[in-house]
Amino acid sequence: MHRVLGDRRAITILLGPALLVYSLIMLVPMVWSLGYSFTEGNSIEGFTGNGLDNFSRLLDDPAVHDALWFTLKYAVVVTAGQVVAGYLLALLYVFFLKKASAPVRTLAFFPVVLPTVAVGLLFQKLFQVAPQPGPVNSLLNAFGFESVDFFGSAGSAFWVLIIMDIWRSMGFYAVLLFAGLVDIPDEVLESARLDGASGPRLIRHIVLPLSMPVLMSSLIFSINGTLKVFDSVVALTNGGPGNGTTPLTLYMFQSSFTYSEYGYGSTIALLLTVVCLLVSLAVYRVSRRDNTES
C-alpha cells in the first residue's frame, strides 16, 4: 500500500531542491570554514596555508579571552534575567490576571518583533547624556542624582545592554512559560490548596517543580541564542568603549572584514561553534538528570 508514498522520483523532486540549497549554503561552507582555519589571507588576495598558527594565536590573544569572557558573562546574566523575568510575568498572568491576561500578554510580547537595530538605537538615546540628557538621565536628575555617562565605561554599557535585552525578550519568555503553567491541571492546584499550601509555598513546592520541563527548554533556547549575540551589541555600543563590550561574534566579524583576516576569523567562528555545542550539551545533560530524578 505504501508504494505511492515510497516513490523515489517524487521524493527526489520534493526533497532535492531544499537539500541542495541547504547543503550549498550551510553544510559545504561549514566544512570549508573549517579548512580556512589552517590558512591566512582572504578571498580577494587568495589563501596560503599556515598550519596551526591561527590556533596558537587564538590561545594567546588577549582580545579573544576578553571576548569569550564577555560572551559567557552576557549569556549567563541575560539568560537568568530573561527566564526569571518571564517566569514572574507568567505567574502574574496565570494566578493574578487569569482570564484578563490576554491584552497584557499581547502588549508585553510586542518588543520581541521589533528590529534589534531600532531597539538598540532607541536605547542609545534613552540612556544618553549629551547633547541632551535622555529620559533615564533626566529621571536621575529629577531625583537629585548626577547624570551618568552609561556608554563611557564598559561596566555600565554592559548593564544597559542587559536591561535592553531583558526588556526586549521578557514578554516572549512570559508567553512561553505561560503555556507551561496553564498546562498544570486545576485539580492538582486545588488539592494542594486544600492541603493548606498557598502563596509562595504553593509556587515553590507545586508550581515550580511542575513547570520544570518548560523552564528547562526556555533555558536551553535562551542560552543558545544569547551566546550568538550580535545585533544588540552592534546597534547599542558597537563593541565599545574600546573593546569593552565585544563578544566573540563581533570580534570574528571585525577580524574577518575590518582586518581581512579570513583564516583567523574562521578560527574564532570555530571557537564560537565549539562553545555553543559544549554549553548546549552541558545544559541538556543537566536537564535530563533533573527530569529523571523528579
Binding site: 517524487a10 531544499a18 497584557v104 510586542f110 534589534t116 537595530v117 546597534a235
Partner: protein, 300 residues
C-alpha cells in the same frame, strides 16, 4: 443595565461581609499590588515607544533645548519625508523587500515540499535527513559567512541582492523544514493515498490536497521567518558592499553617519518607519505571531 450593575455590586458586597474583614482587606490590597505591577509593566514596555514617536516629530532645536519629557512644540511631520528621501530609507525599504519576499517564497516552497517528503513519504534515512537539517539550527551563522563570501565573490554575485536571497533561504530552511514536518504529522497518510488511487500522482496530491491542509501552518511559519529575515543584521551587513544595496537594518545603523551632523528628528522618524512595518503586522496577527515564535523556540 443600571439595575444589573447595582445588583452585581450589591451581590459582591453581600459576599464580602460574609468573609472576615481582614481577609477582604488583604485581598483588596493584593489586587492593588497586581494593578500596580501591571501599570509599571505597561509603562516600561510602552513608554519608550511613545517617547520614540514623540521625538520623531520634534525639530532639532526642540529636541536639544527642551526637556526630553515635553511634547513637541510643533509637529514636524517633514522629518518622515526627510528620512525617506534624503536619508534613503525609501531605497533601503525597497532593498529589504526585494531580498525578503523572494527568500520567503523560496523558504516556504522548498521547506513545505521537504517537510512533506520527510514526514508523509516513507523511505529509509528520513529521520537521519531530518537530523542533518536540525544541525543547521545549532551552528552559529558566523561559521558559514566567510566561505559564502568567497563563493559569491567568485561567481560574480557580489554587488547584487542575490547573496542575501540565497543566504536567507539556506539559513531559514532548517527551522521551516522541521516545523512543516511537525505540522504534517496531523495530516493522515491514508487521505493522500486515497487521492492517488484516482490516478493523480503523489506530487499532484501534495500540491492540491496537502498544501491547502497546512495553509494555517504556512502563515505561521511565514510570519516567523519574515521577522527573522526582516530584522536580520549580520547577514545583511556581510553581503551588502555598497550603499545602494543596504537593507533597512544596515541603512538605519549607518543613518547618523550618512547625514553628517546628527539630525535627531529624521533619525527617530527612520527608526519609527522601521518599527512601523512590524507594528502593523503585529496589530493584525498578534496571536499567530506569538504562537509561531514560541513554537519555533520550543523545538529549537
Amino acid at each position: 443595565m443600571a439595575i444589573d450593575t447595582l445588583q452585581k455590586t450589591a451581590g459582591t458586597g453581600h459576599r464580602r461581609t460574609e468573609r472576615s474583614p481582614l481577609r477582604a482587606a488583604r485581598k483588596a490590597g493584593g489586587r492593588m499590588w497586581v494593578r500596580l505591577a501591571v501599570a509599571v509593566l505597561l509603562i516600561i514596555e510602552v513608554y519608550p515607544l511613545i517617547w520614540m514617536f514623540l521625538t520623531s516629530v520634534k525639530s532639532n532645536s526642540d529636541y536639544l533645548d527642551n526637556s526630553t519629557w515635553s511634547l513637541p512644540t510643533t509637529w514636524e511631520w517633514g522629518n518622515y519625508a526627510e528620512a525617506w528621501t534624503t536619508g534613503n530609507i525609501g531605497l533601503y525599504v525597497k532593498n529589504s523587500l526585494l531580498a525578503v519576499v523572494p527568500a520567503l517564497a523560496l523558504i516556504l516552497l522548498l521547506g513545505t515540499a521537504a517537510g512533506f517528503a520527510l514526514q508523509i513519504m516513507v523511505w529509509k534515512g528520513r529521520s537521519l535527513t531530518l537530523l542533518v537539517f536540525l544541525a543547521g539550527m545549532m551552528v552559529p551563522p558566523q561559521m558559514i559567512l566567510l566561505p559564502l563570501f568567497t563563493i559569491y565573490f567568485q561567481t560574480g554575485l557580489s554587488g547584487t541582492l542575490w547573496p542575501l536571497v540565497l543566504t536567507y533561504t539556506g539559513t531559514g530552511l532548517p527551522l521551516t523544514v522541521f516545523m512543516m514536518a511537525t505540522y504534517y504529522r496531523t495530516v493522515p497518510r491514508e487521505l493522500l493515498e486515497a487521492a492517488t488511487l484516482d490516478g493523480a500522482g503523489i506530487l499532484r496530491a501534495f500540491w492540491t490536497i496537502s498544501v491547502p491542509m497546512v495553509r494555517n501552518a504556512l502563515l505561521t511559519v511565514g510570519l516567523v521567518q519574515f521577522f527573522f529575515i526582516w530584522n536580520d543584521l549580520l547577514i545583511a551587513l556581510t553581503f551588502t558592499n555598497s550603499q545602494d544595496l543596504r537593507t533597512v537594518q544596515v541603512g538605519l545603523l549607518n543613518f547618523s553617519g550618512d547625514f553628517g551632523a546628527t539630525q535627531y528628528g529624521p533619525l527617530f522618524a527612520a527608526i519609527c518607519i522601521n518599527v512601523f512595518g512590524t507594528l502593523v503586522i503585529y496589530l493584525f496577527l498578534n496571536q499567530k505571531v506569538m504562537k509561531g515564535l514560541t513554537s519555533g523556540a520550543v523545538k529549537g
